[in-house]
């Protein structure tokens, strides 16, 4: 028994050492590799001036063709929409971006993300290797219930975010594999047309969203123009009256949901590349008009 306990303890020590080693290795690789996602790109960007920053979820990443917008507006823009991200994740992105850069305007999409104030795993996974960064640490401490485990237990943050920052991503970062999408542009086109897939917006709307208030305050403090908009859904979407409720809660919301044929959609909530081009123009001309007014 004594021998078994001794060997079991050795095994436990080995596991702990390996966990520490993996944590150190992963963190070092992510810190020193070229950016492969939008958050890494933000952290690596310094002294840049962005005329317009687009923030939101995949409904921003897939909908705004920044090259087209740049050619129309003659401005420098970047699409920081992240798959699955909510307002809380966008808030963190904005805080990090303005830390070392100048931003003139933020175009933020408000849709059913109004319902959530908490951070999402998908939206913030790529921030986890940089949890020692003061802004990320403070943000995580404030909004993440499991901050202590994320911050103090080695490798935990990598383990629970394995689809985003697990071994596969580590390997690609270590060999400096170029990402599929250039994070400095950020537009991720979708191809095809499957509008038959249906989805729905919530039946009821939240009373308020404090994160949106904080984003407004942050923009005001830093003299950033904040434009709120909502992009289109296909005709298969259910509970469409949610958009009217949303416009009541957010009076300055620009509604761009109308006038889109189902052939322009990849699925019920995402435009395809053709739709994205139409929408980008729509967004540009509409915001131009609004600004003139």
């Amino acid at each position: 028994m004594k021998r078994f306990i001794q060997n079991s303890l050795k095994l436990i020590v080995l596991v702990i050492v390996l966990i520490f080693a993996c944590d150190i290795l992963y963190t070092a690789v992510y810190r020193n590799s070229a950016p492969r996602n939008k958050l890494q790109y933000i952290l690596n960007t310094e002294n840049e001036t962005f005329d317009i920053v687009f923030l939101g979820s995949s409904r921003v990443a897939n909908h705004i063709d920044t090259k087209l917008f740049d050619s129309l507006s003659h401005k420098k823009t970047i699409n920081l929409g992240v798959l699955g991200a909510g307002l809380n994740d966008n808030y963190l992105q904005l805080k990090l971006l303005i830390q070392n850069n100048e931003v003139n305007s933020v175009y933020l999409q408000i849709d059913d993300n109004f319902e959530r104030e908490y951070p999402t795993a998908l939206g913030t996974a790529s921030a986890m290797p940089f949890i020692r960064n003061t802004i990320i640490k403070d943000h995580t401490k404030r909004y993440f219930e499991n901050f202590n485990t994320l911050y103090y237990i080695p490798f935990y943050r990598y383990a629970i975010n394995d689809p985003k920052i697990g071994f596969r991503e580590l390997f690609f970062s270590a060999v400096n594999k170029a990402p599929k999408i250039d994070p400095s542009i950020g537009y991720i086109p979708k191809y095809g047309n499957r509008p038959s897939q249906s989805g729905s917006l919530p039946k009821n709307i939240a009373k308020k969203n404090d994160i949106l208030k904080e984003i407004r305050a942050l923009c005001k403090t830093n003299n950033i123009e904040l434009v709120l908009f909502i992009s289109p859904y296909s005709s298969t979407l259910k509970n469409r009256d949610y958009i009217e409720k949303l416009k009541y809660k957010v009076p300055d919301l620009i509604d761009l949901t109308k006038g889109y044929n189902d052939s322009l959609f990849y699925n019920y909530g995402h435009l395809n590349n053709k739709g994205a081009r139409v929408f980008t123009k729509h967004l540009y001309y509409n915001t131009q008009r609004t600004q003139k007014q």
Binding site: M1, R3, F4, N7, S8, L11, L14, V15, L18, I19, C22, A121, F155, A159, I160, N161, D162, P163, G166, F167, R168, L170, R194
Partner: protein, 478 residues
Amino acid sequence: MLFNSLDFAIFLPIVFVLYWFVAKESTKYQNILLVIASYIFYGWWDWRFLFLILFSTVVDYSIGIALSKEHKNKQRKILLLISVLVNLGLLGVFKYYNFFIDNFTTVFSFFGNEIQSNTLDIILPVGISFYTFQTLSYTIDVYRKRLEPTKDFIAFSVFVSFFPQLVAGPIERATQLLPQFYKKRHFNYNQAKEGVYLIVWGLFKKMVIADTCANYANDIFSKYESMNSLSLLLGAIYFAFQIYGDFSGYSDIAIGTSRLFGVDLMRNFKYPYFSRDIAEFWRRWHISLSTWFRDYLYIPLGGSRGSKWFNIRNVFIIFLVSGFWHGANWTFIIWGGLNALYFLPLLLRDKNRRYLNDAAENRILPSFKELTAMLSTFLLTTLSWVFFRANTVTEAILYLKRMLSFNLEGGIQYLSIERYVPELALLILVFLIIEWHSRTKEHPFFNTFRYIKLVGVIIGIITLGNYSSVNDFIYFQF
């Protein structure tokens, strides 16, 4: 409580310490501790179903005692029948009630008689198919006078509820497991060490192989209509490895855990994907269930005695019942039927016991003939797994139809989990090489490189394991 959970990582050392340091003085204390631990383990999931286990335990214990006192054949048969009815009755209510109601309704509707379907919202108690079969084996063995009925209720309770194998097997025979609870267990270093090796290897199979395959297979099966033939073939292969990693991983952890308590369980998997025909596959896959059906159904039905037609009938019964045991869905029954069909040519040519040894015995690599045989067996098995995985028979047929259409439109497809479909093949290949290398052993940790392998596997669990989406073991649903 899941084996791959923090709860179990805390629970196991506590029970281990209490077992070997506090309860070590007597068999009774050891058994009482195991019963308490087992009930906590099971109750962690849903304490209400503990009463079912207790009920099953009391019924079969009492029937065992009654059988020992009864000498008249007719009375003994009645007692056996009560046990069978109680155990299968529980299974029938919790697992098959809705299936039968739905099918009766469909049949009546087909003949123009509309009847109201009164299905129940029933939760399936975890592991019910496993422990009911285990207790049934006890009563049948006592009835057949192959086993002396126990008078030790605590030992019998451990036999029924022993936590390492309670919810997903191996389904132990009373003749093998029960006697181990009659005598005091003494700590054996080598047995415990082997147990730890099996636990580590089981965790690797579950967390690295099965759960990773699950992410791919789930995505492919849920969108099979938009997938090309290559993606669908890989989806079926990934599911084949998911279910193997999941179930054999569970069995390894169960066997390893019980060895820590000085109890030996039967081996449940012997590298089934290296089988050279379907008969060999069934001697290597879920061995405890296959041998259960062999001993308690196939042989009583007449086994391989009698005419060929009689043999064929028995084989079909076994496979169809085995399919139905897995779940109340026609998909499982068809899966069983398909395996019976695969078995048929071997039976007709008396070739079902052709491969009783390991593939490529005393050689590093298989011969071309062996390789072809293994690949074709794997392919047949993979095709049948599509029925096992699909939600409906129609879905399985459409999946296979699309898969066999040799449509490669879209080339290498990208999944919504942000992975290319073929990416996982590399991990599967590495896993197969490790398994091939260890095919004559229980786990890969043998010879002088065992510690290096152990470190490698632990690194694999840490870095490649799935922690973001902890999945239940598939066989919990059965």
